[in-house]
């Protein structure tokens, strides 16, 4: 019970700080809209090939927005020297990590709330429940992995370079499977949305458990 209270307190603290400073979300929202504008002009698409191109644009945008969001999760703590104060309490490092991942994941969800309608508007593709659920499921796994590596590289000077190098290879399954789910949901042929969604849930469970077990060793040293 105490771990849950700690996780929610950490997440609430991060979200309150973001709400008051508005450091990250407006910049990320601007970034996703700009990415879609560039993709809109960069790709030659019509009503036939839009469902095949839009998922690629969606995942590319999401990956880069995620790298920024998760990178900031621990970098800000290090800059303020507040991470140590948090870790020098009896609170479980796994609970602290869960709170950080929850907050960073929710910030990315806010960006997705801008990204998905804008994608529907620019590419004229259906943004259905299946599309939204595939993106949200992928966000869970991407958030826990992104935050784990962000915590790992936060004390390194070249963290902006290292974070994508460590994170992107492990995000590939989410991009491939999430891409299939979104392709199917947007009406492109040959993609099984249900099967892909099931796989995303499996991956989420696997990585949530793995990162919870390893977070202690990453944070507590």
């Amino acid at each position: 019970m105490r771990s849950i209270a700690v996780a929610f307190a950490v997440a609430r603290k991060d979200l309150t700080a973001e709400w008051r400073t508005r450091e990250l979300v407006p910049a990320l929202a601007q970034f996703v809209v700009l990415a879609l504008v560039i993709a809109n002009f960069g790709f030659q698409f019509d009503s036939r090939n839009a469902p095949a191109i839009a998922p690629g644009v969606l995942w590319m945008t999401l990956v880069f927005a995620g790298l920024v969001a998760f990178g900031r999760a621990f970098a800000a703590e290090r800059e303020q020297s507040s991470l140590e104060a948090m870790l020098l309490t009896p609170a479980s490092p796994a609970a602290i990590f869960a709170g950080k991942a929850l907050a960073a994941g929710l910030l990315l969800v806010i960006c997705e709330a801008v990204l998905l309608p804008a994608l529907g508007l620019f590419f004229n593709v259906p943004v259905t429940f299946d599309v939204v659920s595939a993106v949200l499921l992928a966000t869970v796994g991407m958030a826990v992995l992104g935050c784990l590596f962000a915590a790992m590289v936060a004390r390194v000077r070249a963290r902006e370079l290292l974070l994508p190098l460590l994170t992107l290879p492990l995000w590939i399954p989410f991009i491939v499977i999430g891409g299939q789910a979104v392709l199917g949901a947007m009406g492109a042929s040959g993609a099984g949305t249900d099967q892909a969604t099931g796989l995303l849930i499996d991956l989420d469970i696997l990585f949530v458990v793995l990162t919870s077990l390893t977070a202690r060793f990453v944070l507590d040293e």
């Binding site: 105490r2 700690v6 603290k13 008051r20 303020q80 020297s81 104060a85 009896p90 609170a91 479980s92």
Partner: protein
């Protein structure tokens, strides 16, 4: 009973020796001042006592527990004020403490009490970013005593404080075992029964007893 028993504490960063073979015993309720020039190893020693750093070699027992193994158990009994206040600038003074109450498992009612103790009762709702450096340091001291620790580790807590620093520190150290690193010998004399001087990571001379513990 001794609160801290350290034997042969050594810390190396690559080829650089930050602390070498420091032996130290601190009795319960005793106040120890750690003196020394910049880079003498004061912060390294204090971070070990606060369980924020592990020594390269040596052993450390705090409250009879192995501080290298039982770190989480000990943390509810240790309060630490580091060099940087480590506050959340967007949160108010009270919110900063409320957050740490949750992490420490302490009732939020303690916040008002601690804010009054450190003289920030009137600034409870002001964001930490808008507090003066001295007020931020007071808030960091308040955070360190939020959970009523039995051992207080203070790394140059007087660095940004005004002339009332001595009174505040005396108040928070009262009834606790305390280790304080400072450059202010007068403050050390006032607050502590004993001093330990470090030079280039080694204990210099014999730890001095300043006055009899009452």
């Amino acid at each position: 009973m001794s609160t801290v028993v350290a034997t042969g504490l050594t810390q190396r960063f690559g080829s650089e020796v930050a602390l070498e073979s420091v032996d130290l015993v601190i009795d319960g309720g005793e106040h120890l001042a750690v003196l020394g020039e910049n880079g003498a190893g004061k912060t390294t020693l204090l971070r070990m006592l606060a369980t924020a750093a592990r020594p390269t070699s040596g052993s450390l027992e705090i409250f009879g527990l192995n501080a290298l193994v039982e770190r989480r158990r000990l943390r509810s009994r240790i309060g630490f004020v580091a060099h940087a206040p480590g506050l959340y600038p967007a949160l108010s003074a009270a919110e900063n403490l409320q957050f740490f109450c949750t992490l420490q498992g302490v009732a939020h009612a303690r916040v008002a009490e601690v804010l009054d103790l450190v003289g920030l009762g009137d600034l409870a709702r002001r964001p930490a970013a808008r507090l003066s450096r001295g007020a931020q340091q007071r808030l960091a001291i308040g955070r360190a005593v939020l959970h009523d620790p039995k051992l207080l580790v203070l790394d140059e807590p007087d660095a940004s404080l005004d002339s009332g620093a001595g009174d505040l520190l005396a108040q928070v150290m009262k009834g606790r075992t305390a280790v304080i690193a400072t450059h202010d010998h007068a403050l050390a004399n006032r607050l502590c029964q004993r001093t330990l001087e470090l030079r280039r990571g080694r204990v210099f001379g014999v730890p001095t007893r300043l006055r009899v513990v009452h």
